[in-house]
Assembly symmetry: C2
């Protein structure tokens, strides 16, 4: 589960890569993903599950399409994830009587409980990931990243 590699081992990394923000971000993200994936795997979940359960808990019941839009997930992937979550009893699909094309998705009590477990896993990962940074630096990092994200979100909206 510690798959290893992911970062150079033998010699140096090419300067082109470790000096470019786009690559630094990708490398840090790869590390973060690995932490999340293995933490969630230990809890029998995956990253997609967390996104879905979080949206349901924060926003209440939604249609599959609306769910997908709120977390940037493709509708076809939503189908597959809900199948998995329903099998585990973490969500419930009921067809919406006001629009018979739609399913109304609800998080179950077991789902809420599972979400809390995953929240704890995620919290632990933030600590591990940000260990080398001071509280101030953590704030700076979040602020800078949010700025980049806002910008790219607006860029897409403009297209």
């Amino acid at each position: 589960m510690k798959t290893h590699a992911e970062r150079p081992v033998g010699g140096a990394t090419p300067a082109r890569l470790n000096s470019k923000p786009s690559w630094l971000i990708r490398d840090v993200a790869a590390h973060a993903s690995q932490l999340v994936a293995s933490g969630f795997a230990a809890a029998g979940a995956r990253s997609y599950h967390y996104r879905v359960l979080a949206a349901l808990e924060e926003f209440g019941p939604k249609s599959q399409a609306a769910l997908g839009r709120s977390i940037g997930m493709d509708p076809s992937d939503v189908v597959a994830m809900l199948n998995e979550l329903a099998e585990k009893g973490l969500i419930e699909r009921t067809s919406d009587p006001s629009d018979r094309r739609r399913n109304s998705i609800t998080i179950t009590p077991a789902g809420t409980q599972h979400l809390q477990v995953l929240d704890a896993v995620v919290a632990g990962i933030q600590d591990e990931l940000l260990a080398p940074l001071s509280a101030d630096e953590r704030g700076d990092l979040s602020r800078l990243l949010s700025k980049l994200l806002d910008h790219s979100a607006r860029g897409e909206a403009a297209s």
Copy 2:
């Protein structure tokens, strides 16, 4: 080519996600990857090609295994990428006489030229990605990310 999506559109994003550094990083990285992938695709390349060519140009001829180690790429993936690069005449494989298990990989003049084109693409992407940040902020971001990367690299070395 503008694939779209990638970030919520309909309503708000769950607070759990956009408040956690690990998710912010992943989202920014996804955006960066998309920029790189489409920029490289326009030049007939992919991200893996850049890594390989950069390592060869900066460090000189290497064996496939050493190449893979220097850029954190799996040996089996190195094989496939070198096949593609060799077909385009960007690298050359010659078997190493001092150790007949090894191939010595060299970047060709065409490869160096192609790398320069990709360098320009990458430079443009940094500007696009970091547009909302001041020069000071860009420096801060790189510094913070490098710190995180150093930490995770040391963590792996310790295992």
